[in-house]
């Protein structure tokens, strides 16, 4: 592999892509959406700075995980009865009442009941964010969902009880925006970079030059990665306080964007015209970002279907890395992401070589 050739191709594409209005729109859309949401949701950066009241007689894993999150402040109370009053008194985001033997019941798959008080005097964004945090933490306890049955209780309305519901803003926004960014780059920009070379026959020029096919593919991938990293960097900067574990989040994002760039290259290697890409890109984009949509109370079959989409594992890994919890499970998800990426890259090389001959 020649670094000079790869750099030349990537440099050409980086400047050429922004001269293409279609590609420029595709690149700037996620950024525009992020900025718009930032303007609409000014508190989004402070979502995880919670005070949470806990009653945890058996010192459960769940509360230990919460204590490890630096943005959280946990206040212990002696009884379940005082938890709710304490929330109002200290203006906490909510309270968790952990039943005795919680860890053992989770391990045994008994789905123990977890009572969560939500301070509904807080604004809806903070409430949603708190609910999301609790859901993520509970989900991370075990591979088999759901590990526990959550009963949500608003501190001012005893009767308003919801099980496993409520929008999950932090879970939804940043992963969704990142996946939208990578999806736009992967499903639109990268395939078009490759398809244009074929359609305009400039690929013939590249392949009579010292560039080898693998170098052309890596050059295109590099272009997609650079654009994704730049836009993802802005998104992360805007939402930096949502990130619990920076190294793991960066690793997850890198592997995720490699996955989607590889899938974009695969599209580019299969399709022959820009019209084909334009026709299919929206559908592919929708499928790619589907795992980032919250489907509250979704049927098991939908959950199962999502597992066939490679980006599902990226989103799961991203949610875990954002909270910095359940690292072993995170590695498992990242392994799946890496495996899918490698399969996609090999498929690209195979498809292109086959087409070339």
């Amino acid at each position: 592999m020649s670094g000079q050739v790869i750099a030349a191709i990537a440099r050409k594409d980086l400047t050429d892509a922004i001269r293409n209005r279609y590609l420029l729109v595709a690149l700037l859309t996620p950024l525009s959406v992020a900025l718009l949401l930032r303007l609409m949701l000014p508190d989004v950066n402070r979502l995880n700075n919670f005070t949470i009241v806990v009653h945890d007689p058996d010192r459960s894993t769940l509360v230990s995980q919460l204590r490890a999150v630096p943005q959280l402040k946990l206040v212990d109370v002696d009884s379940a009865a005082t938890a709710r009053d304490e929330v109002e008194k200290i203006k906490a985001a909510g309270a968790l009442v952990i039943p005795a033997g919680f860890d053992a019941d989770v391990a045994a798959g008994k789905q123990p009941k977890l009572t969560v008080y939500v301070n509904n005097k807080k604004n809806s964004i903070e409430q949603a964010s708190f609910r999301g945090l609790v859901e993520r933490q509970v989900k991370s306890l075990d591979q088999r969902p759901p590990p526990a049955e959550i009963t949500w209780i608003n501190v001012r309305e005893e009767a308003d009880s919801q099980t496993g519901r409520g929008i999950n803003l932090s879970q939804m926004l940043l992963p969704l925006l990142l996946l939208l960014t990578f999806g736009m780059t992967g499903a639109l920009v990268v395939p078009l970079l490759l398809v244009e070379e074929k359609e305009k026959r400039t690929m013939d020029f590249l392949l009579t030059s010292p560039a080898r096919l693998s170098e052309v593919i890596v050059g295109k991938a590099l272009t997609g990665i650079v654009y994704s990293v730049l836009i993802a960097g802005v998104l992360l900067a805007l939402n930096r306080q949502l990130i619990g574990n920076w190294p793991l989040t960066m690793l997850t994002i890198l592997l995720g964007l490699l996955l989607i760039v590889a899938m974009g290259l695969l599209m580019g290697s299969i399709f022959q015209t820009t019209m084909q890409v334009n026709t299919w890109a929206s559908l592919v984009l929708l499928v790619l970002i589907a795992p980032s949509f919250p489907f509250p109370g979704s049927p098991a079959v939908l959950e199962a279907a999502m597992r066939f989409i490679p980006t599902y594992y990226f989103i799961e890994a991203l949610k875990l890395s954002l909270t910095g919890t359940n690292v072993p499970r995170l590695w498992g998800q990242l392994t799946v992401v890496l495996a899918c990426t490698l399969v996609a890259f090999f498929a690209v090389i195979w498809t292109m070589r086959r087409a070339q001959n």
Binding site: Q4, A8, K12, T15, R201, T208, S209, P210
Partner: protein, 282 residues
């Protein structure tokens, strides 16, 4: 010394035999014409000789490199002007060449040299999409020359160009040959091949059906006769291998009866039709 040596080269696409056991050699510095109708296998041959496409059978060495096993060494030694004007249209002419220079590791200063050579220096900063066909063709030639190749493949370089630009391209080809560059030229235009090429090969349905100098081909397949038009409007055909031809001509000239006199040497087009059984445009 041969620049190109081809021995039994073949290429099939599924059931289609695009190129069928062709063999020929091209000397260094020669302008070699490869003529044939659409689908005869000209472009497939160029793609194989320039290392873009693997032959199904046979062997070829270009600039001393085996086209199947030494593609990496071959590519910097050849330049290809494709029949498609495959330029980056959102980039300027200079940016196109600068990109090619980076791929080949060529000194960036060479870009302006080749732009000057094809007389494109003034418009080099314009976007390629605003270029005429002739300008694009000149830029393609400049790109193919950028890395100083030993051999240049020109695939239909004057197709669709107006006569003035086509003449300019032909002037460039002659200039290249004078500099020692081997030119492998495919064209539909027989007059062009006749003017430029030292030797031509006729390709029909993937096979070489004739290979010689244009003069030899014309001599071998043309009539040895003269066509005379008299002042009365009458036309006569005078066979040159007739012993009485000289006397007959002398009488016509001395008697002042002759209005015009033409040789009836066959054109390359006519030779091609005779050999291949159909014309280039069919």
């Amino acid at each position: 010394m041969n620049s190109i040596e081809v021995d039994g080269l073949s290429r099939t696409f599924n059931d289609l035999q695009a190129v069928d056991r062709i063999s020929f050699t091209v000397e260094a510095g020669e302008v070699f014409g490869f003529l044939g109708h659409n689908g005869a296998g000209k472009t497939t041959t160029i793609r194989m000789l320039s290392g873009q496409l693997r032959p199904t059978a046979g062997r070829a060495r270009v600039a001393g490199c085996d086209v199947t096993t030494e593609q990496g060494r071959l590519r910097p030694l050849v330049g290809v002007v494709s029949e498609n004007q495959n330029l980056y249209e959102r980039m300027s002419g200079r940016e196109n060449l600068a990109f090619a220079a980076r791929l080949y590791g060529t000194n960036p200063g060479r870009v302006d040299e080749v732009l000057q050579q094809v007389d494109m220096l003034e418009r080099a900063g314009d976007n390629v999409r605003h270029y005429s066909n002739g300008m694009k063709q000149r830029l393609l030639i400049a790109r193919a020359l950028l890395h100083r190749p030993q051999i240049i493949f020109l695939d239909e370089p004057t197709r669709g160009l107006d006569p003035v630009v086509a003449r300019e391209i032909r002037r460039l080809v002659i200039q290249l040959a004078s500099q020692g560059v081997t030119v492998f030229l495919t064209t539909h235009y027989m007059e062009e091949a006749d003017e430029l090429c030292r030797r031509v090969a006729f390709l029909s349905e993937g096979r070489i059906v004739a290979l010689d100098t244009p003069d030899n081909l014309k001599m071998a397949h043309g009539q040895k006769s003269l066509k005379a038009t008299l002042n009365t409007g009458q036309t006569l055909t005078i066979a040159l291998d007739d012993e009485a031809a000289g006397k007959h001509l002398e009488e016509l000239v001395s008697g002042g009866h002759l209005r015009t006199l033409h040789s009836t040497e066959a054109t390359l087009e006519e030779v091609f039709i005779q050999i291949a059984g159909r014309g280039l445009s069919e």
